[in-house]
Point group: C2
């Protein structure tokens, strides 16, 4: 697996270099980042564990508002919620492995249990996760709020604030 993909990555980087590695503007990064989010089935949520190690968990890409807000559904009893209660700093990462590009958003997470948020992410059959239904105390909604982002493709990358 390894070296074959490295060859592809090298070829992609070489093609970009031949074009002079054109620098990305903030507007291009945001536009391409949004396109990546819309094309992604999942994203990766990074949190701080209590023992100081970073943790990563794949989350379903259910709902977002631009790059500013992203919502996830999860079990209130999950390790992620326990960690976020103690430290709500997080990152959300989207990756396109075919085109060697990715978007990292840095921000904080609010843990919501209001009925509007619960209903917004509910789907038929979700009782398999939350047996008591949409009002199950073990059902929480995470709302991520981005402060800044980093978008890269091949050898180009740009960091930008998110207002």
């Amino acid at each position: 697996m390894g070296k074959e993909l490295l060859k592809q990555a090298i070829q992609s980087a070489q093609a970009s270099k031949k074009q002079g590695n054109p620098a990305l503007s903030k507007e291009e990064a945001i536009s391409q980042g949004l396109e990546l989010i819309n094309a992604s089935k999942i994203c990766l949520l990074g949190t701080n564990s209590e023992d100081g190690f970073p943790n990563i968990k794949a989350m379903l890409n259910l709902k977002h508002d631009g790059l500013k807000h992203i919502w996830f559904s999860t079990n209130t009893s999950s390790k992620r919620v326990q960690q976020l209660r103690k430290d709500n700093r997080a990152c959300v990462y989207y990756v396109d492995e075919k085109n060697f590009r990715g978007l990292m958003l840095i921000g904080t997470v609010d843990i919501l249990q209001d009925i509007e948020s619960r209903k917004m992410l509910w789907s038929q059959g979700a009782e398999v996760y939350y047996p008591l239904g949409v009002e199950d105390p073990d059902y929480s909604v995470l709302r991520f709020t981005a402060q800044r982002g980093n978008y890269y493709q091949n050898l180009n990358n740009i960091t930008f604030d998110i207002a």
Copy 2:
């Protein structure tokens, strides 16, 4: 994108539940985790940034030794190396979005520049990243050493030590 995938996840979880959500043994988790690593083109490296936020970056899945050691190539000048010099605690995550399973490994990273490690991960054309070749000071090898792992599929998950 969102709700359709949620429906697939719910169906997969329901199918697993019908089979009684059979618990994973440590041996099964390690065996399935290794299979996931071998099938993965990329993985996600989690690090601690200086300002206390978790960071995530996709890395090419180049080489591993069981679940214990994973090697990555990167630029010495990269943000990842700067972060790992100050705090070498990290995690490595592999995800299979089609089958709703993932493997998180928790451990630490050593930054290597010995010639054997450099040659081990080198590939023809890698000068696009490291213009001075295999001895480029801007070429580093990251060696991740796992302490413990967490493997999940659908609603089942298990945490285990890695000797």
